[in-house]
Amino acid sequence: MNDAATRKLALSHLWVAFIAFIVACFMGQYQVLERSGFIPALDSPSVYFASVSTHGVLMAFVLTFFFIMGFGYTIATTSLKQPVWNKPLAWAGFWLALTGVVLAAIPLLTGKASVLYTFYPPMVAPAVFYIGATLLVVGSWVWCVIMLVMFMHWKKANTGQPVPLAMFATAMNALLWLWTSAGVALEVLFQLIPLSLGWIDTVDAGLARTLFAWTLHPIVYFWLIPAYTAFYVFVPKQAGGFLFSDEMARLAFIVLAVFSLPIGFHHLYMDPEQAKGWKLLHAIGTFVVALPTLVTGFAVIASLEIAGRLRGGKGLFGWIISLPWTNTMVLSVILSLLMLIFGGFGGIVNASYAMNAMIHNTAWVPGHFHLIFAGTTVIMYFAIAYYFWPTLVKKPLFSSSMALVQLWTWFIGMSILTTPWHVLGLLGQPRRISSVVYNNLLTLAWKPYEFMMIFGGLILLGSACLFIYILAKTQLNPAAEAFDQQIEFAEPIYAVESLPEWLNDIKLWNKVIAVLMAISFGYPILQFFFMDSSGSSPWGF
């Protein structure tokens, strides 16, 4: 990581990610205020839905994609000790993706693409919105290619050697994303862009929803895998111990990538265009994918316990106290796991087939994914940024005590924001409304929870600003002297000398994914070409 050009590449990606993040945080705070109805002057559905659409695109597509790309370049160069393969191509991917973001931002910010980041045909936005989103995805495919080529090159040069765990996870994530993005790519290229340009007159909303569901579940694992990678490869070392098991970590990443793909129909449980048998099949797969998360939870906690005991912790819980709570990575993983436990409970409710009817499209759902994405995942993005920044800018972190305050406030803010959000869902409040105009007594029970959410949002906004401040200060500080910090990977308790090929490569898993996808999505997609359906003409919003 001494190569200035690679550091610039990684930093550029990470800065785009975090600028998108901070802009979207301000929008989130506006939304929670507007929605509560406490400030009547703010009330405006057109501004609100433009903001929700932009907030979703920035957080779910821009923050994540650019962060994962910057993370991947850093992991690949440090763990493989290789320079980035084909730097001009990497920069081309960056500029392609950034151009896509700018193109999509124009209709979004002017309120012409308020179709939410889930698109929702037969509503249509201007074609430039979909084209921008497509370029962003194509830019991320460039990254996937570079990651997979670097993975192959290393394997060729080190025959029989285990690929470093961090790179194995990153290659798995690249494979996962290529499969994941195919669904939404088909929807955008064959349905949405032709519809918005007027090349076709009608669209089958059922097919569009099925294709989007293909992408909608594994995309969250694409976001999550960098966080899990940090759990396995950074946390044990930072805590002062060892990784519990290298092989089980690989298995966990494999099961995550393979089983997160064929299960997207849990987003369509309440939909009329798919039969219940297929929904049940995907429901079972959804429970299978809980397994690698349970294994990960065990491995991380076991690694932490080893570290705690090595640091002199005694007794059943003494090791928890003796953990280095002032290490940003260790604090983040503790807070992240706490949010994962509660978010996971919620996720099991969502996954539970018919039980989903109680919470489907209620406020419970954004409550759930904020807890598990903005909480569990993004707090690890912070930890990774704090860990990478001194290496990337060659200066010490501006203030680690400020960073600890930032992490704690993010956790507290997220708890205060998402708890009432879940309750609102159980009280029947729909998600995606800009104000409450229902003339019904039920809505009286909603008020106090909406009030609480404003405070949660304020704490989060303050925390987000502090995060950006710390990163900027670190980078802009005048360099005192030569500062050189390397990224260190955790050692497993038992070093792996050799691995069976299927634990060290992605080829077999690519084939397994192809078979599972054919089984779980083959007929459900083909049925649309055989059924007697009539498409919908395009609608504005």
Partner: protein, 207 residues
Amino acid sequence: MQTEPLKQKCEQLLQNLNSQLCDFYAQLRAIHIDQLERKWITISLIVIGLFVGIIVIDAFFHGVNPPGKVETVDSASLHLNKEFAEDNLGVQVDAKGHVTVRMVAGRYSFFPKHIDVPAETPVTFRWVSMDVLHGVHIPMTNMSTMIVPGYVAEIITTFPKPGEYPVLCNEYCGLGHNHMWSNISVIAKENWTAPVKSPAKGVSNNE
């Protein structure tokens, strides 16, 4: 005459696959897994199996399923459709006493805007959209479904408690989405009378 070699080839292929699977299993067994971790994985598998088991048993033996009857309809010409023409909307009771409710969702309301249904009675709802994507949820009940244009969303539910319930659109359908709601009265079984002939019910009961 080509069958012999083909058969051999198939057998060869199966044998290969079999030996590969055996290898895979042997390698999987050879992975070092700590005793504690083995126990944890076993517990995890039991818990997951329990959840999946409950869901599958409920689905197959108690009929607890989400909506899943794939039935198409032309959303652009509902007014010409016999079933969803204006006169047929709302509550109807067939000769066997079965209650069916036909509803049209459109920006920005559910039509008819107010209906009366009996409590503790299975009610079949048939929802269609006349424009974009909608969703409908009656809070505190499991009457929830997406309404996708081009498809009939059918759901059978029983309301346990009488009362006045709102019917809310829970999927973003345009800038007026907030205003998309209507009412349903769930009436005690003994007080409820079937509508004689479902008239056109366009009268607004909303504020």
